[in-house]
Subunit: 223 residues, 2 copies
């Protein structure tokens, strides 16, 4: 019983194709479906009451494929968070692109998109602004990465308009973080009260916050 004297017929070679698609494509497709389902469910029902089973049902897949792409539900939340944050930031960058020369127009366009996106995508907004907080273990990383990108975006936008003699870089960074916090907090309250307040009021109010910061920093056009 020490040797195998008969090979199991023929060890067939397979390309990995199925339903006309390559294995990696099918896998990526499944991951996308799960991500979309996760965003929808977490954003609408909350992370705590979204089970893996429910996500799979929404995606039209089974648990096996969930664990193929994610190791647990927190993993899905983090992935969803990063995907939506990216989309959010991109949409803001796109909206501000035409106004890079005029700081006032830049701010207004940016804020209109920052609040407008939330109104148009309440589930996604809930996900990135509220539910993301649920993950203690990943919270630090999240702040470091995605919110950090938002802050970097703001600092990048500001620098070209900056005069000398304002606060140092450290203070500038804190101010940018604070500005991001102001927007997020206003959105959270807005979401929590079912978007009752007109978007225009939020934009205008936030514009004043940015205006004040512009004055404080000596930005041309605001002083």
């Amino acid at each position: 019983m020490e040797t195998i004297d008969k090979k199991p017929a023929t060890p067939r070679q397979r390309s990995g194709k199925y339903a006309g698609k390559a294995a990696s494509d099918r896998q990526a497709e499944r991951r996308e479906k799960l991500l979309a389902a996760g965003i929808k469910l977490i954003g609408s029902q909350g992370f705590a009451s979204t089970s893996i089973d429910a996500v799979c049902a929404e995606a039209g897949l089974t648990k096996r494929y969930f664990y193929e792409s994610f190791s647990n539900s927190e993993d899905l939340l983090v992935a969803s968070y990063r995907a939506v944050t990216q989309e959010y930031l991109n949409s803001i960058m796109l909206a501000t692109q035409p106004h890079m020369g005029d700081s006032r127009k830049l701010v207004r366009a940016g804020l209109e998109q920052a609040f407008g996106y939330v109104a148009k995508n309440p589930d996604k907004a809930r996900l990135i602004m509220i539910e993301a907080m649920s993950v203690r273990s990943q919270l630090g990383r999240m702040y470091g990465k995605s919110y950090g990108e938002f802050v970097t975006l703001l600092v990048t936008f500001t620098k070209p308009f900056l005069a000398d003699g304002g606060p140092g870089d450290t203070a500038l960074e804190v101010m940018a973080k604070g500005a991001v916090g102001a927007i997020i907090h206003l959105c959270q309250g807005w979401i929590a009260t079912d978007f009752k307040q007109p978007v225009e009021e939020l934009v205008t109010g936030t514009e004043h916050i940015f205006g004040g910061m512009g004055r404080e920093l000596g930005v041309s056009g605001w002083v």
Copy 2:
């Protein structure tokens, strides 16, 4: 079998006292213990991973007494949130009391306490600034009540220093909400990164935000 002919001996009268204390006192005492246990556990481990059993164990009581004071764990979270928020706001009011006449000193004292409290009470800060978000059903109410009090506090502080010709009341309110959001967001990031950044940097940076708002509003001493 229609009449009861024999009274069950003597229907004793009891005052309700036990261990030398009145019933309502004992009950309030138990509630306090549970609240303290809840604040400690939710603040340190997070709401999601804090079970009612654990809270009872921490409080040295049993589940029966939990349900005597709270109807479920969310109820405890809401109560904890309100208690800590109250304490937080009171501590800020106390710290600013001596500087009501000088807007610059007022802002600095307020900010030092706003951030100082967080550093001194990380668990409580985590509770009110991070974990409180976990309760979808109560979120609206929270925003309406306790954060609203913070905003009101800010508007109240600002009004006496206000000149004419600034933005309207609606914008002022949005600005105040934004300012609260800036502080909260900075605290969240600070907590998430284990208080690495020096508190002085946060205070100074936030001071600039308030300074800018002061300029924008035409507050005397800031323009």
